[in-house]
Amino acid sequence: MDAAIGRAGVLLGFLAAVTGIVTLAWGLARRRPSLLRSGQLYTWLLLSGAVGALLAMEHALLTHNFSLKYVADHGSRETPLLFTVTTLWSALEGSILLWVLVLAGYIAAVAVRFRSRVTDPLVGWATLTSYAVAAFFFGLMLGPANPFRSVHGVVPLDGPGPNPLLQNHPLVAFHPPLLYAGYVGFTVPFAFAVAALVTGRVGEGWLVETRRWTLLAWGLLTVGVVLGAWWSYEVLGWGGYWAWDPVENASFLPWLCATAYLHSVMVQERRGMLRVWNLSLLLATFSLTILGTFLTRSGVLDSVHAFTESALGPAILAFFALVVVVVVALIGWRGDQLRSPGSIDSPISREGAFLGNNLLFALFAFVVLLGTVFPLLAEAVNGQRISVGRPYFDTMTEPIVLALLFLMAVAPALPWRKASTELLRHRLQWPAWAAVATIVVSVALGVRGVETLTAFGLGAFAAGAAVRQLALAARRSGWAGLVGRANGGMVVHIGVVVIAVAFAASQSFGHRAEYRLAPGQSARLAGHRVTYLGARQVRHPNRLALEASVRVDGARVMRPALSEFPFATQAVGTPSVRVGPADDVYLTLVEGPSQPGGDAVIGVVVQPLVSWLWVGGGLMAVGTLLAAAPGRRRRPTQPASEVSADEVAGAGPEPEGERVLEPASLAGGVAGIPGG
């Protein structure tokens, strides 16, 4: 029954997508608004199919319907309820179901939001593109990744449960859905970018319309990535949170392009420039999403996160090739026609800084992508497999991150068009002093190493600039001053600085050791004392855990454990973390006592400022929400280059409100922003 409903749902979704494509294509080719209207209706069939299939699978999981192969392979009667629900996305086929649901949700939201413009060919092309993507993923589930396959032969009475690492921590309920919500969310701006290129209409409000979508997707992806790092830290047991693992890189690459886009789009709104850049960034974001999906699910790269090898590889690769062909063809065909005639007067200006920002992020993405796929390229050339691991990424990305921190500090202080030293001097004075003060204090506290000090200094520089802008906005408009794109963006910048500083500190000053301790024995590491008290076996419904009790600093008792799951060949470690504002004490049970009362080997990792990473992530989320809210509006006809009296008198930059183009305020014939 579940299988039947599930398969029907998938088939419905696929057919709805395909029929929608055909209808819209016909309507766009023959210029029939009625077909465009009816083409939109297939969105609801798509959504019903996705929802139905998902509900069928959850029902099968919750009722332990082992006649379904997916449930037989990944479900279990002993798994706790929460992890049974999350089994939906704990394995390959189910994760595609989640993807498809999120995508259908976004397409439906677009249909609702743009329902008044349903006959606009721009919206028509965007919907068509979204349908094409949905058709691909539904098609995957009809073919190689069918989650509703039935078990051959005897129906088992119980199953092995999901991967033990995915049953260890409640975060598994949040990280994948949020990550997917972000990842998949970029399909909407991608669809609109394709539509804009196809119809040739770039200089209009579609950009402003979809800005919030992109911001939302970006915010969700940011949270998803940070939660992934948190999950990696809390669950995997190696004490780190970011390993430049191929799957991590796959989620990071679209984030980089989307961040570049969110900044560069401001130049397009203000001066109509960098249009082709913006389109390319959006198209690249989505392409990298598909490439990342391929790398994650094809098994060509070794990764601690990878799903098991599957037959999906060729299909996703073919789709990636198709996306690349479409993207390249569109840019090659239309790109030069859509270039704006404006120019950037001086590199020392806000536009120049954003252009530099674009280049830096593009370089960052290039380095990460190169490092990720290089083992495959090298193997293709001379058959020898080499590894490109953390040392490479750390070395290569460090200068880029430092340059970005510098830009983060300087760019908000730069005016549009042209800067004068007087203005810069005035605006950057306090942030510069903050930076130097931070370096001096760090040196006084014993921090050594030019790289780390530079990172701290530049971080303080950027944070100082952001705080200064927020302070001025708050002084001017009170709490309302904190809302709006510019100020929300400053909060996000502060979050980024916090994360960068935490990253630098925890990488440079971590301590790691293993101690063989008898019950009652203590060890010291980096100013903390850990005392092993003893170990005992605890039976949980889904695992048998050997828990050690370790007292940290004479206060809290932590319980790192080794868990044996019934169908796993080796025990899985459950680390225990004592989180603190200055540092984290991270404990793992490496080896339990061989007899009761015997010695145990306890692994201890002490890293400073790890909790700041999660705080920084939270700040970025808050900043995104602030930025998504509407702020002060400028008059649409206020020229971008006009210098306000405030700026001239040196009182500070005018906090930028959001520039919104309302159709009502435009006279007939004027396209709005200078430069189109």
Binding site: V304, F374, P375, I386, S387, V447, R512, G573, P636, L666
Partner: protein, 175 residues
């Protein structure tokens, strides 16, 4: 002087002739800043605590070597038995006085070059280090060319019909 656009009506503060003394005074705090910065960095540049301990060196070298049985972790981070064996081997070799490069080569001689997390060697492996540098050079060159082209083109000046269009818009639709 401060980047006001054409036709702007912003008033600029009265200009005093920049006396030498005034200009020098203005730059003084920045000069002090630079001096303090350089001083702090000079003090902070040295390694803390003197020479690297054996433990530290073993951890560092192990951090550049894969753990053989793990997926994606280094021998320093993993607590697997094989990672421990690698660390013990490194410790023995450090005790024998081998250099970092020799230790890495010895491990690669047994596991293959993909045991090293930092790609080494001439030929193909060197590309992964060279390509980003090439990309930076190309990007800077392209940027320089673009700015030169924009500077040569000069500023756009509005024509009469442009002005008329803007007047119409401001008169008709301005807020």
């Amino acid at each position: 002087m401060t980047g006001a656009g054409p036709g702007s009506t912003a008033r600029l503060p009265a200009q005093r002739p920049p006396a030498r003394r005034r200009r020098w005074l203005v730059w003084l705090p920045w000069g002090a800043l630079v001096v303090v910065l350089v001083g702090a960095l000079a003090v902070g540049a040295g390694r803390s605590g003197g020479r690297e301990s054996v433990d530290h060196r073993v951890q560092r070298i192990a951090g550049e070597v894969r753990c053989p049985t793990c997926r994606g972790l280094s021998a320093a981070e993993s607590d697997a038995k094989t990672a421990e064996a690698v660390r013990d081997d490194i410790r023995t070799r450090v005790g024998q006085g081998q250099s970092d490069g020799q230790i890495r080569a010895a491990l690669a001689a047994r596991f293959g070059p993909d045991i090293l997390l930092r790609p080494e060697g001439r030929g193909v492996a060197a590309l992964v280090w060279a390509l980003p540098v090439v990309a930076v050079v190309l990007a800077v060159a392209a940027l320089a060319m673009a700015f030169r082209r924009w500077a040569a083109v000069g500023h756009a000046t509005p024509t009469e019909e442009d002005r008329a269009l803007v007047e119409r818009a401001r008169g008709a639709g301005g807020e």
